[in-house]
Symmetry: C2
Subunit: 652 residues, 2 copies
């Protein structure tokens, strides 16, 4: 294993950026149908091949006339022209407008020969010309549409309400330049030109090779006892590649066998513009990749002085670029976004997303002293009356708090909104310090409301009623502490809250107790059975409010027996065996690996297990007093008030 | 036609927004494979179905041990444990760690039974235990990987470098809430849970019915003489629907026949959540649609007090919503974006794009006095040293200038960057006044450099070398005037520039003259032939620099003949017949509808026509002196300097 160490000549992040910029990811060009060209980038200039419009075109409903025939006409002295016929849109005119005549015309119709202007229908009347002329030499108004003449109450200049052929775009004109991204507007202009296929830049083809014998594709069965896990990076990175404008191709998993790795990597390199490897965190797989790149191509750098992402590789195969991403999903995605996505966007001709970043303030202090650049995932909280970062600048502030559950945790993917790049010389960020947050995508919004605290099934359905909430189940104790620090918008807690300043938004009660096998075959009767009988128990951690409630009950039992608490719990097998999540003790009972678990009546019923009630505890939703004006808090108050309490063991 | 007028009870824009909000565009839900779920929106909550990780997992390469065996160990006093075996990622452990033993373990591997902590390989050495013990009871360092024991130079607590089963997500935990948009991060979390299909909101299906007998789909042949034009709205609106998160379905064109329109509209209504009609500007087609909606469904409103977009319709079929868009492409797209796209985004569960707007200043004054809300298309110019609107806020300004070529012009689609909504009471916007520009899409960037002036083939290839330039061919005269007003970054002109303040970036000469049929069958010899012979001539407009140059030559000819200019030009057939675009006179010659046209040698050669030279004129690129620091101007200067002059008739 020690041979690995010599690979690590860590280069500064700037060198990694330069190395990736030096790679050629250009995918060439391709013809695509216009209908499917949205978002693509023109590979060459498009000149107009025809005039738009292709003919002199009426731009109003009315009558096509010779302007000269209308000179001097007005309300007081209308001109009367004989009706020579009609022209409709989409039809060839079968009428010529001679002096003294007019032709009815629709918007968009071809101007008939002889006519050089159009009068709007609103400025005309149809009259009977022949008869009235015979009687008194004047037209009679109001003869309706049946009249054989038209009276114009306005004079016209040549060209009035006529769009000349080529007035919009003329044949030979430059319509769109190379590099133009095709949005609905450009698609519109190309449609007008009759173009139905365009030459665009091909999307850079990016092959993704997952490494690691332990990986299983989602949807397949995973054998946990053999250490198998689902492959997170393949789909995550593929989706991120597509978001950046590339086309992703997934290759089969490669284990750490040299021959197999070589076969997969060279196949991917032959078919793609860029090969990304990712997946395994095992040193031996990384070593094998390293050797394959060295043998088949060139390694430009190995190891970057950045956290996370140290084990990043950059190289070239003869016909493809190569980047090796770290194995942990969060690290892999961060390194991809930071180093690789800009290169894919460049090759695809995509602009950098404009709003990839927002300004924020640190919600808490953060210490970091490793002396290399750190990409710190952070969650955002809008502290003002409005939820958006944008509006936050008009009054409210946006707060950023570090999300660091260790790079192995996929949940930190969704608990963070973006990344703060912390320079190698920054060892300390103060609470309130200004930071720039590089968002995971331009669509990222801070949650409408951000809460922490106890895990609770009724709360879960309350959250479902809210629009984009974020809730971290860190237990009542940590929840209260964070609320005291002023970070979250609300905390959900059980037990005593001392004298914390907070506004209670509402609450409910829940039945808690011991979860046992269906129908309680062991006849577990209460807490004393855990002490006195040989039962395997699963507890919850001390941060959990449920555990706090249990601890109180344990003390009562000890008191009533005249024993010390410690004596009592030492006799409970598994009292210190704490499962992090609400349902975990119950699930251990269900799987047969425990006889009793601390839990809720609702969990027992959900999982079809037995339940031995030990009491009822109150769950309270407490709002940060500084954030009462946040719309998300108002929505939460309402959702708590409307929360259905039909869950077993839940009451008001 | 007068019967139409009674339809028009214009409602305020707010009522149109409300009417559209009242429509039900919900497309239901559907299962999609995770691999194709990017951008989709979860229809229901996803709870974890399993623990992640599914087993207690080593988070370091090293040795799995019992923490108790390491108590008190340190650099000075290492602990030595017998090597009991090895566990690799993706394999079931075949070793049990008894007291006093350790098992080699890779990152990600299953913790073997008995072990409760992992020591990093860096804090260990492999030693020969058995032999050294025999010799002197102490392990010998540096025995390498072959040693049968491991020496630990650190003490461990239970759980060190172990990720417990369920530590990331535990079975039963809420993983993602309903309404969550799936980006790479959420795809990652779902992958970790083994989910490969998700229930998402269906994209609202939007049917697009183009109306108008004159419309032809791009790619087909268009018969201009019959007034046919390409259908612009179908593809434009379909693309805009997709951009908003909908799924677009194009229906066949419907003419203004009641039966045909009814058939197409009811078919679309049966298959779609929303039907949009658009295309025809003809009153009769709109009337027919109106009647169909009234007969088959309900019309909620007809006519909105907004410009453009007055003729907008909102209604409902029994199973579908309906919106009728204006016929002109620019109007149709603006009304779609303003009223319809937000409703589609809502139904699709998409967030409003964050940066749909930028703050700008009016570059020129604008008067408008119609008393109804106006959606004014504007182009953007970054005036500062940096091109982006974002950076503009840190120093430079973003200027907005109205683009109004009439709603019939598709080119204004690409010459504008967004829309300024001008209230009904605003009759005047001053130059410098602050306006908020609603961008056509979040990806819209102001052009890197914005120029106006003469049309010129060499300039066109210079533009191709620039990244996102915008150039409006408004002729030398208008170009100079706009440059004087300080609006564009540069102007391209021929002829005299008086004493305009500008910096010349470079220029070239071009041969101009008369373009005639191939090989000049009429033997046209010069300008005098136009005066003296019966030749049909096509000129350029007076704004064109080329026309200015011709006018000078005409005056010289008149002087030399002792005639007045007016006498001379009255004898030129077509002297006042000005074609807007550079190649249009030549193309009229090519089509046989003219004998001679004003143009350039390069145009004649490009189109394979004859050329009678009349002179050489200088084309100059003049920069706005206030914008010399714009990077786009520097890039332009360079591109002008490098411009290839191999075009026929072009020189330095």
């Amino acid at each position: 294993m020690s041979s690995r160490k010599e690979f690590r000549e860590l280069v500064p992040p700037e060198e990694a950026h330069e190395a990736i910029e030096s790679l050629d990811l250009d995918g060439g060009t391709e013809e695509v149908p216009l209908r499917e060209a949205r978002g693509r980038v023109l590979a060459e200039r498009v000149d107009a091949g025809l005039d738009v419009p292709g003919f002199d075109r009426a731009s109003m409903d009315g009558y096509a006339v010779r302007a000269r025939d209308t000179f001097g006409a007005g309300e007081a002295d209308p001109a009367v022209l004989e009706l020579a016929g009609a022209v409709h849109a989409g039809a060839e005119p079968d009428v010529t407008v001679e002096a003294g005549t007019a032709a009815e015309i629709s918007t968009g119709a071809v101007m008939p020969e002889g006519a050089d202007a159009v009068v709007m229908v609103e400025r005309t009347d149809r009259v009977e010309r022949s008869s009235t002329e015979r009687e008194n030499g004047e037209a009679v108004n109001g003869a309706g549409e049946g009249g054989d003449a038209v009276e114009l109450r306005t004079s016209l200049a040549p060209g009035d309400h006529v769009m000349l052929a080529g007035a919009d775009v003329a044949a030979g004109e430059r319509a769109l330049g190379p590099g133009t991204r095709l949005t609905p507007r450009e698609i519109g202009l190309l449609s007008a030109l009759g173009v139905d296929e365009v030459l665009v830049r091909s999307k850079p083809r990016v092959g993704i090779v997952s490494t690691g014998d332990e990986l299983v594709r989602p949807g397949e069965a995973v054998a946990s006892e053999r250490g198998q896990i689902y492959d997170v990076n393949s789909y995550t990175i593929a989706t991120a590649v597509e978001e950046a404008g590339g086309e992703a191709a997934l290759y089969p998993h490669a284990g750490d066998d040299y021959g197999e790795m070589e076969r997969v990597l060279t196949e991917a390199a032959a078919e793609c513009d860029l090969v990304l490897s990712s997946g395994s965190t095992s040193a031996s797989a990384v070593d094998v990749i390293y050797r394959v790149i060295e043998d088949q191509g060139e390694l430009l750098l190995h190891g970057v002085a950045i956290k996370p992402g140290k084990p990043m590789l950059v190289g070239e195969f003869p016909d493809s670029a190569y980047v090796g991403l770290p194995g942990y999903p969060v690290s892999a995605l961060m390194i991809f976004r930071h180093f690789v996505a800009p290169a894919i966007r460049r090759a695809a001709g995509r602009p950098e997303p404009r709003t990839a970043s927002v300004e924020a303030e640190m919600a808490v202090e953060e210490r970091y002293g490793e002396g290399r650049t750190r990409l710190m995932p952070v969650g955002l909280i809008g502290s003002g009356p409005s939820e958006t970062a944008r509006d936050a600048s008009n009054g409210g502030r946006t707060l950023a708090y570090p999300v660091d559950k260790g790079s192995g945790a996929t949940t930190s993917l969704v608990e963070a909104d973006g990344i703060v790049e912390v320079g190698p010389d920054t060892a300390y960020l103060d609470a309130g310090e200004a930071v720039s947050v590089d968002l995971f995508s331009p669509d990222v919004r801070p949650p409408t409301v951000f809460g922490v605290g106890e895990d609770d099934p009724l709360l879960t359905s309350v959250l479902d009623d809210l629009d984009r909430p974020r809730y971290l189940t860190i237990g009542s104790r940590q929840g209260l502490r964070r609320l005291e620090q002023g970070v979250p918008d609300f905390a959900v807690v059980t037990g005593a809250t001392d004298d914390i300043e907070a506004r209670e938004l509402g609450g409910w009660t829940r039945d808690w107790g011991l979860i046992v096998a269906p129908d309680n075959p062991g006849g577990v009767d209460g807490l004393a059975d855990l002490v006195d009988r040989e039962l395997r128990f699963v507890n919850r951690p001390t941060d959990s409010g449920l555990r706090g409630t249990l601890d109180g009950t344990v003390e009562d039992l000890a008191d009533s027996r005249g024993e010390s608490r410690n004596e009592l719990v030492e006799r409970i097998d598994g009292f210190e065996l704490a499962a992090r999540a609400l349902e975990s003790p119950a699930r251990k009972v269900a799987s047969g690996s425990a006889d009793a678990g601390l839990g809720l009546r609702s969990t027992a019923e959900k999982l079809g297990l037995g339940f031995v009630p030990l009491g009822e505890e109150r769950v309270r939703v407490l709002a940060n007093p500084e954030r009462l004006e946040k719309p998300g808090i108002e929505a939460l108050r309402e959702a708590v008030g409307n929360a259905p309490t039909e869950l077993p063991g839940v009451g008001r």
